[in-house]
């Protein structure tokens, strides 16, 4: 009995010691695959450091920063004003770091003849004001818009950037995951939806987008996202306290090294560029 007790105590102490220096990253499910790959290759390259990564959503990560249960909050949206206020009330100063860019493609069924849409047309389609493809230059077919669920950062970003804070139409179809959106659009002729670049494949067709009322239509390609001409791009962010900067310096240096930046393109996001 006594032997078992001492072994148990030693084991818990050891595991604590092993993880006290672990850097914790928590937050957005969009940034999650990227942080996981970074953490894995970082831990492979150095043998002493340990990094733990969890998801839960951007909001969850930022409130974990507030309660001190994470070192880095990963977010696919910028910190809200009220969240910033809550943190500064506690005397926590946060630093924002752009770690990658994520571009959203507007996708339709491959047989749909429409090739380009302006932002105003997209706003009309997703808020329910434009109901038929013939109003935007296509066939006489009902438009079926697909969206993500309300818990998604992509949903929120699309609402702020493309719909300019207007609410989606009340009968919009909400799919639980990007993969489900791709599947549904590939089998519904009048469908339209938004997905991250990483999910583009042959089953759906991406349209060119214009943010200047039709003067220039930009093709959705990684090159256009990198040179900032493609308009529907959002930064993926890391938030951390300024006083933990020294502790996180090695990991952050790794992220911006050539090895780290290569991982960004592998996961499907747009790299910021080595610093």
């Amino acid at each position: 009995m006594k032997v078992i007790q001492t072994v148990l105590i030693l084991f818990t102490l050891l595991s604590c010691a092993f993880t006290t220096n672990a850097q914790r990253i928590k937050g957005s499910d969009t940034v999650l695959p990227l942080s996981q790959k970074w953490a894995e290759s970082y831990m492979n390259s150095t043998s002493t450091k340990k990094v733990t990564v969890t998801g839960g959503g951007s909001g969850v990560g930022i409130s974990a920063l507030h309660s001190g249960s994470t070192d880095i909050a990963q977010a696919s949206r910028s910190i809200k004003f009220v969240e910033k206020q809550k943190l500064s009330k506690e005397g926590i100063a946060v630093k924002e770091l752009v770690v990658a860019y994520d571009a959203l493609a507007i996708v339709i069924h491959p047989s749909n003849k429409v090739n380009k849409l302006t932002r105003e047309q997209l706003e009309g389609i997703f808020t329910g004001k434009i109901k038929n493809w013939k109003e935007v230059g296509g066939a006489d077919m009902k438009i079926v818009p697909y969206s993500r669920e309300t818990s998604s950062g992509t949903y929120e970003f699309f609402r702020i950037n493309v719909l300019k804070h207007k609410n989606y139409m009340s009968g919009i179809m909400s799919m639980p995951a990007t993969g489900a959106i791709v599947q549904s659009i590939s089998q519904t002729k009048g469908a339209i939806g938004y997905i991250g670049f990483a999910y583009l494949n042959k089953k759906v067709k991406a349209v060119h987008v214009s943010y200047d009322s039709g003067k220039n239509y930009i093709a959705p390609s990684v090159k256009n996202a990198e040179n900032k001409t493609y308009p529907i791009v959002r930064p993926l962010l890391y938030y951390y306290e300024t006083k933990s900067e020294a502790k996180l310096e090695a990991f952050i240096k790794y992220i911006f090294s050539p090895a780290g930046q290569k991982i960004v393109s592998e996961v499907g996001f747009i790299a910021v560029g080595p610093k």
């Binding site: 839960g56 959503g57 909001g59 969850v60 409130s63 004003f81 009220v82 206020q85 500064s88 808020t127 077919m141 009902k142 079926v144 669920e149 309300t150 818990s151 998604s152 929120e156 804070h165 207007k166 609410n167 989606y168 009340s170 009968g171 919009i172 179809m173 909400s174 799919m175 639980p176 489900a180 599947q183 549904s184 089998q187 519904t188 002729k189 009048g190 469908a191």
Partner: protein, 402 residues
């Protein structure tokens, strides 16, 4: 020797009583927690917590209801005279707009000059409506009036026809589309699954040969073990295109597809339990009926089925429970559109799918979170009503037998 055995028996009896009591108490606590969290919704403000709507004092409008606020901010209502004010165009101002007008330095240390700047903007524009956090809004100032805080009312929640819990500035928590969607999908699923399921159960227990039964029963029980996500995936990839093409619809994700899938999922449960109940009719009763001159078929529907009525109703209750509470499969196949269902062939949104999809990002303790708990309470009540009804119906069956 005897006394130690009795002590052990007493201990085991006590242990069983304790586990029964603990289980009941835990279930009771879960239900109490559900209702407690849900009822907190009716104390939450109808505009997002910590925010309020500000108007210029010259504006004659003093009150706006939730759907008017939504239409104003979505630019569906563009003139003040549509909501009882003067004939002026509505100018919508959101809090983030201030950062595009003034830079961070002009707003002062810790945003101290912010209320002042906002007051100027409101005073200059008599047709403005501003959505601002209370901490940074000008308060008790000439020229600016705030719309009074209203809490979410029962009629907003139970009578509201739009479910948009993340709309800004005021979320809409109308549950009628969700309740109707859930009931529609479950009802049609049971309509499809019950006759089919009972038919298969009767065939398996009475009419099938020994080899057929040996082969079919394990296969059907295998179907009951498939995880619901797999069913959802199957529904999305196979059922949805089939429904779309056969019925010539513009979109395949409809309530009908959801019902079909739920019927497929509820069938194995109904079949196995009903079949077990039917087979448990004592041979004495069957033989007595046959001896009195009844045909095989008359024996089945006049003797066997009434005898196993309670088993069949148990199968029905479990099948219905599976159909109503099914989350993942319905989430992938019905399109989750929060609208009032007018036909069977439109996308709808069910209660379990809403809870599953939205609970992740709902800030703990906020209005959205509490509304989801209240949805859980409603689901619990629906299931309880159905179970109680099914139980009472089976008890009313006069037990024709020895």
């Amino acid at each position: 020797m005897k006394s130690s055995k009795r002590i052990i028996e007493k201990i085991i009896e006590g242990g069983l009583k304790l586990s029964g009591a603990t289980t009941s108490i835990i279930i009771l606590l879960i239900i109490i927690f559900l209702f407690k969290e849900g009822s907190g919704l009716f104390q939450s403000p109808s505009v997002e917590n910590g925010y309020a709507l500000y108007l210029n004092s010259k504006n004659t409008v003093n009150d706006l209801d939730v759907s008017e606020i939504k239409h104003i901010f979505d630019a569906d209502i563009t003139n003040w005279n549509e909501v009882g004010g003067a004939d002026q165009e509505i100018s919508v101002f959101r809090f983030d707009d201030i950062f595009e007008i003034y830079s961070d330095e002009e707003l002062g240390e810790h945003y101290s000059l912010l209320p002042e700047k906002i007051k100027e903007i409101i005073n200059e524009n008599p047709n403005i409506i501003a959505y601002l956090p209370k901490a940074f809004a000008p308060s008790n100032v000439e020229g600016v009036k705030v719309l009074p805080d209203k809490t979410i009312s029962f009629s907003d929640f139970f009578g509201g026809k739009e479910w948009m819990p993340t709309a800004t500035p005021s979320p809409m928590f109308g549950v009628i589309p969700l309740i109707l969607g859930t009931l529609l999908v479950s009802f049609v699923a049971i309509l499809i699954a019950l006759p089919l399921g009972l038919g298969v159960a009767i065939y398996l227990s009475e009419l099938a040969g020994e080899t057929t039964r040996k082969f079919m029963k394990p296969t059907i029980e295998l179907l009951a073990g498939i995880p619901s996500v797999v069913y959802g995936f199957f529904g999305l990839v196979v059922l949805v295109p089939i429904v779309q093409e056969t019925l010539n619809l513009s979109v395949g994700e409809t309530a009908f597809t959801g019902s079909l899938l739920l019927a497929i999922m509820a069938l194995p449960t109904i079949i196995t339990i009903a079949e077990d109940a039917l087979r448990n009719t004592p041979t004495a009763m069957r033989e007595a009926s046959l001896a009195l001159g009844a045909t095989h078929w008359q024996t089945i529907y006049k003797v066997v089925i009434p005898y196993s009525a309670s088993g069949i109703s148990a199968a029905v209750v479990l099948g219905v429970g599976r159909a109503i509470g099914e989350t993942m499969a319905v989430l992938m196949v019905t399109g989750n559109a929060a609208v009032m269902p007018h036909t069977l062939f439109e996308p709808i949104r069910t209660i379990p799918a809403s809870i599953a999809a939205e609970l992740g990002e709902a800030p703990a303790g906020g209005a959205h979170y509490q509304s989801l708990f209240l949805l859980g309470c409603i689901l619990f009540l629906i299931t309880m009503v159905i179970s109680v009804t099914a139980e009472s119906l089976s008890k009313n069956q006069p037990n024709k037998g020895v």
